[in-house]
Amino acid sequence: MKATLDLRRVGLALVAPVLAILVAFVVTSTVLLLAGDPVVEVWTQLLTAPRPRLVVAIINGASVYYLSAIAVAIGFRMNLFNIGVDGQYRIAAFAAAVFAGQGWLPGPLNIIVSLLIAVVVGAAWAGIAGWLKVTRGVSEVISTIMLNAIATGLVSFLLFRVADSTAGSNVTNTKTIPTSSQVPGFALVPGTPNKVYGFVLLAALVGIAYWVILNKTRFGYDLRATGRSETAAVASGVNVKRMVLTAMLLSGAAAGLVGMPLLFGQDYSYGTTFQPGLGFAGIAIALLGRNHPVGIAFGALLWSYLEQQSNGLQITVGVSSELVFIIQGVIVLAVVIAYEVVRRAGLRMEQRKVARQLSDQPGSPTPEGVTV
């Protein structure tokens, strides 16, 4: 009986994203029709298999998005809305870049210490919001948004002081990381000289750690319990304030790693060309992946895929690449709605089932099957 129920659950879990993608497909096509753009060509372009070098770019982009979404998801599981991942990753990447650029430590040691710095700085920045929430009851939504703005100002203020820029150049960067501390990539995809970031592994490790901590530890259990019902958690002896602060610190620590694949695998410095806005993409991807490490991986890949395929839209079809923003937005919206619809449908199915069981067995009124 348990097996069939689980099967149904898996089915339900798959229905939602498929439904969402279908809705996104229909809405986007409608938008295209209304705008008088060629619908078929757009989908052909978006759905053709990407070239090898694009595959590399998609994986690289996804690894960064994945870290960002995991950072957001840690907060989500605790019912914390950490909008501040954006500020946290930027300030952490900046700090790590400044340190790594100095090259005080040899090769790999430099990388490890820089990663630690990024983690600590990210956690500390998020910790401010956590501390404010715990001690003063400030909503983390408000404080993290404010901290994003402060991070932007602080980083640019400091960047101009430590910048290693040449006169007349518009590129303002921290010192380039010594070659010995740059993380080499993997030539995973044949047919292109471009390499996949070595730190794709870092993203995978963080994903595994996220799953283990949440599902296999006492702490993870407490965190999920507090996220589901604070009162129930308090009743079973969980110190909610400590959990809030810890979750915020963990979320910030993961956020601190977001910029690392870019820093050590592509840019080798923090500056004007460093990719902005990763934290906000992370929120959307965490929603898309339902806070599940595997779901988030698919979400990150889908996000990156759409983004990288968008260039071809302009060049081969002549449709603005901002169309991809519409698709991404609709998918997230549709996923959230579809999950709710499917959840309710699942609930109704379960209720009907229990009712049937109860009427079948008038002797035993305890509905044990419900808790599965």
């Binding site: 409608t30 938008v31 709605i337």
Partner: protein, 344 residues
């Protein structure tokens, strides 16, 4: 039911966005029959064709080349917040599609041009606004924005009644500081006691300050409230918001890159007393023309006041009374009697 309602609302809202941005890229190519037929790829910066400013100036040069030289253009635009790899990919896809002359509009393309140019020595690049990437197949097209900004700074000081003017830069980078340096010096040359409020909309690596009218509007409204009566918008597409704020406050504004008194919406045209013109269109056209004639010269080509690469616009007639003074300054700069700094 609720879901469908939400979806249709979303669709309508999105359709609104869709129509405004999607229409602009011309389905280029098939219609041209003129002589040259040369394929020219154009990679715009954030904002793209339709920003009524920097990118539009480049687009004007491209359009002129299409009409006069019969080139076959292909355009692509950067998206705010995209990864660096997307910029490279854009250039590569243009090359893959057979566009062997590529114009990269904006300094943000410097790192990707550097990489892609080195890997594709047979492709010729024009890089506008930057000398960060150089090579045997790169022509760097730069402008003396400080000189042009000096003139509109002088104009602002001559027109200001409050002795208080504003400068709004899109993004706080060296390029835009060049505008600020010239503007402030021009204003102080006319009126040493003038107060210049300076504000940058965003800090790198956030480049949204070049394409966010809402940010420009808030910043300008603040400056007008604090007594400024002329604000210079060196902020690309964000300038549209500055003009709206000027119209709302009944004050004056100065446009940038293109003659914005011509390109801005009708309801704000009257507030734009002049624009610092940066002839990106001329530079773009010159490059394309040279390419069609088989003449490519690598290296930095500077479009300054002397070469007519920068200047100020007189559309609307609000410069008529001070034109003589401005032209005197212009001559002094050309003669080297006034040296305009590039850093504030």
């Amino acid at each position: 039911m609720k879901v469908t309602a939400a979806m249709s609302v979303a669709a309508l809202a999105l359709a609104g966005c869709g129509t405004s941005t999607d229409k602009t890229p011309a389905a280029g190519g098939s219609t041209t029959t003129a002589a040259s037929g040369m394929k020219i790829g154009m990679a715009y910066d954030v904002g793209g064709r339709g920003d009524q400013s920097f990118n539009d100036a480049a687009a004007a040069g491209l359009d002129k080349a299409k009409a006069e030289l019969g080139i076959v253009p292909k355009e692509a635009t950067a998206v705010n917040g995209e990864p660096e790899s997307a910029r490279e990919e854009r250039l590569l896809q243009l090359i893959d599609a057979g566009y062997k002359s590529v114009i990269a509009v904006g300094f943000a393309y410097a790192p990707s041009v550097k990489k892609v140019a080195a890997a594709n020595p047979d492709v010729k690049f024009a890089l506008i606004d930057s000398t960060d990437a150089t090579g045997a197949n790169i022509e760097n097209l730069t402008f003396a924005e400080n000189e042009g900004s000096f003139l509109v700074g002088a104009a602002a000081a001559l027109k200001s009644k409050t002795g208080n003017i504003g400068f709004i830069g899109g993004v706080n980078v060296d390029l835009i500081k060049k505008f600020e340096a010239g503007y402030v010096m021009g204003a102080k040359t006319v009126n040493p006691a003038i107060k210049v409020q300076v504000k940058y909309l965003t800090q790198p690596p956030d480049f949204s300050g070049f394409g966010d009218p809402a940010k420009g509007k808030i910043a300008a409204a603040g400056m007008y409230q604090q007594g400024a009566d002329v604000v210079y918008a060196a902020a690309g597409g964000s300038g549209g918001g500055v003009f709206q704020a000027a119209a709302a406050a009944g004050k004056m504004a100065i446009g940038v890159d293109s003659d914005q008194a011509l390109t801005a919406p009708a309801d704000v045209k009257s507030v734009i007393i002049t624009s610092m013109i940066k002839k990106v269109d001329v530079a773009t056209f010159d490059f394309i023309k040279a390419m069609t004639e088989g003449k490519f010269t690598a290296g930095n080509k500077v479009y300054d006041l002397k070469a007519g690469g920068v200047g100020y616009s007189t559309t609307g007639g609000q410069m008529d009374d001070i034109k003589a003074k401005l032209d005197a300054y212009k001559q002094q700069i050309i003669d080297g009697k006034i040296v305009v700094p590039t850093k504030p």
